[in-house]
């Protein structure tokens, strides 16, 4: 798991092709295809209700698409049973939008629980490893013995990230990593996401609305709109796109401000 720059030639880690999703009569995805390469930070964006989170849930096996194929680590996940999915699930970590920490366990126990379930490590080492993960996500050490209800929103997200990192996954899914955070915490998450990729060599797929995070951290971005992928590429490529949906997304007042912000330091 060495750190490496995205290499287009390598086989895709996630390969979504021809996915259709419907809820009753409402069509969410029609023919969505995308691929995530090893070692890249891939972002999925789109307006509210465009089905970003649904696509993420389909990739992590929480919900099946109506049709289409989703391959993760080269293995087809659509229609996979819990038993067969387990080895895959151990190779990825998920950080949920609202943290989804187990409310009856402390932060350390939340992280340790994953290690207890999947490894044969001793109690003491598990507690230490949990403390290391908690420190890695930038939480203060006294956060460990606290319960999720005692943490602020930003700390809860970091704790959730620590739990997602518990097994040193190769692939990390982040659902709205900065939603609901103050700008300072949010820019902390930007840096965290980048440094995780650099030091741990992770592949990261995230769903986000945060234009700053996109400019700062994402290698490639896919824009989901009207049930299709309307644009894929680096932020610079997308900023020059002619597609009305993409333009609408990146050239609103906030999009322009984030763009200027991104260019200023360079």
């Amino acid at each position: 798991m060495s750190a490496s720059a995205p290499t287009p030639a390598a086989a895709a880690i996630i390969e979504v092709s021809g996915v259709h999703t419907r809820f009753g009569d409402a069509v969410v995805h029609e023919d969505v295809s995308l691929s995530v390469r090893p070692g890249e930070i891939f972002a999925l964006v789109g307006g509210s209700g465009s089905g970003k989170s649904t696509l993420l849930r389909e990739i992590i096996l929480l919900q099946p698409p109506v049709s289409g194929s989703i391959r993760v680590f080269g293995q087809e996940v659509v229609g996979l049973g819990d038993e067969e999915a387990l080895p895959l699930r151990r190779r990825w970590g998920v950080m949920f939008e609202r943290g989804a920490l187990f409310s009856s366990l402390t932060v350390t126990e939340n992280v340790g629980m994953v290690l207890h379930e999947h490894t044969g490590l001793g109690e003491r080492l598990i507690r230490e490893i949990a403390a290391v993960k908690i420190a890695l996500t930038g939480l203060p050490p006294d956060a460990g013995p606290k319960y999720p209800s005692e943490l602020s929103g930003g700390m809860r997200k970091r704790a959730s990230l620590a739990r997602a990192l518990a097994l040193d996954p190769e692939l990390l899914f982040l659902d709205e990593p900065t939603a609901g955070l103050d700008p300072l915490s949010a820019s902390g998450i930007d840096e965290l996401v980048r440094s995780l990729r650099e030091t741990l060599g992770l592949t990261i797929m995230m769903v986000t609305h945060d234009l700053d995070l996109l400019w700062q951290a994402a290698d490639r971005v896919a824009v989901l709109g009207k049930g299709h992928i309307v644009g894929v590429g680096t932020m610079n490529e997308l900023a020059q796109s002619d597609d009305p949906l993409v333009r609408q997304y990146f050239h609103g007042p906030r999009g322009r401000a984030a763009w200027q912000q991104a260019w200023k330091p360079k």
């Binding site: 409310s103 009856s104 490894t119 080492l125 230490e128 403390a131 890695l136 460990g144």
Partner: protein, 379 residues
């Protein structure tokens, strides 16, 4: 994965000359899945030699943060013992990871707070009991203040919510309460039949069933079913609303939770429970009637004739008057327990259990008090 699936650590036999460094070779996959055997081994490992240690990491096939932590911890422990440790041959990316872990070293872990002694625990337990009762009393007080305020402004009473609660707690409970009390009537008649037959006092089964059902069993059993059915639902509902901060949202909108959540529930139960009690009185006596006919040969006409003599109006009222009191207990305990929920999902479960146990307990105790009072009053 170069050398096997688990992490390994082997000593290279030290060269003979004095003061030479001992070499330790690390190999294999130093990952969460490969570590367990090594971890157990490390605890009881005796480090040979006294001088410098050289750790050779060139054969480590994979290293993750957990493995890096174990390596870092081992080196740090050796250094604390006064050994000088040199690390060599580690791949650059592994070295970077090790450095990252070392830079983030927090700890050690936070020491757990010392467990309090037995006496302190007893004290804390007693104190929490006292404070709990006080909080409960103040909750009851607040609710009654809310009730008085609502009576002062009848337009603020939420009839829609009350009727909804009447539907859910009362109408929807008709099948289960009716069935259970019917069965209870059958059981009592059945149990009495044998004894009464011995004395040829068959007809007195009517007195037995009617008095037992009307005075005691029907109000008590209905209250217990409703405590299990609605009291628990109240706790879970309010508790979940507390977890999701809906209660706080209500307060900021300027609606007291008492007004929207507690009072309508209490009033609805106070309407519904007496009605249910009358209904279960009837179904219970019906059960006894069916049994009396099949087991003792008492016809329905004879049963109803006797019923007229067997029960006075007071038997009916003594049973019925308890129902609103029970209703109040169930609603107040249920809601109070809901408000006692703190942050976690587990707490919702604990409080729901406590709600049912306490309201049933209080209902039975209150019933006993009623019996004593009625006894004094000669009812």
């Amino acid at each position: 994965m170069g050398s096997g699936d688990s992490a390994q650590l082997t000593f290279v036999p030290a060269p003979a000359q004095e003061g030479a460094a001992t070499e330790v070779r690390c190999a294999g996959s130093w990952t969460v899945h490969g570590l367990p055997p090594l971890e157990r081994e490390l605890d009881s490992l005796a480090w040979p030699g006294a001088g410098e240690l050289v750790i050779d990491g060139s054969a480590i096939a994979t290293l993750d943060t957990s493995g890096a932590w174990l390596l870092h911890r081992t080196i740090a422990a050796l250094e604390r013992q006064g050994r000088s440790v040199r690390l060599q041959g580690l791949r650059p990316e592994f070295g970077a990871l090790l450095q990252l872990i070392a830079s983030r070293e927090v700890l050690g872990e936070m020491p757990a707070a010392a467990a309090p002694g037995r006496l302190a625990r007893l004290g804390a337990y007693a104190w929490s009991g006292v404070m709990g009762s006080l909080r409960y009393l103040s909750f009851v007080g607040e609710t009654f203040v809310g009730l008085l305020r609502a009576l002062g402004h009848p337009r603020r009473i939420r009839w829609r919510v009350i009727f909804h609660n009447v539907q859910v707690a009362g109408v929807d409970a008709l099948p289960i309460t009716g069935l259970l009390s019917f069965l209870m009537g059958i059981v009592i008649a059945y149990q009495g039949a044998d004894q009464l037959e011995q004395f040829g006092a068959n007809i007195f089964v009517v007195d037995l069933v009617a008095l037992a059902m009307l005075r005691e069993l029907s109000p008590l059993m209905t209250a217990i079913i409703i405590a299990g059915r609605s009291g628990s639902a109240y706790t879970a509902q309010i508790g979940t609303m507390k977890v999701t901060e809906e209660i706080d949202a209500l307060r900021t909108i300027g609606v007291t939770p008492q007004e929207l959540l507690v009072l309508p529930k209490m009033l609805a139960l106070m309407i519904v429970l007496p009605l249910l009690t009358v209904y279960t009185d009837i179904t219970g006596v019906l059960g006894g009637m069916v049994m009396a006919q099949s087991k003792l040969g008492i016809s329905f006409e004879a049963f109803i004739d006797r019923l007229d003599e067997a029960i006075q109006l007071s038997s009916y009222w003594t049973g019925l008057i308890k129902a609103p009191v029970f209703a109040m207990i169930i609603a107040l305990v249920g809601c109070y327990r809901g408000f006692s929920v703190t942050g976690s999902a587990e707490s919702v479960g604990t409080q729901t259990t406590a709600s049912v146990v306490q309201s049933i307990f209080l209902v039975i105790v209150t019933d006993a008090v009623f019996s004593i009072v009625f006894n004094f009053l000669d009812l």
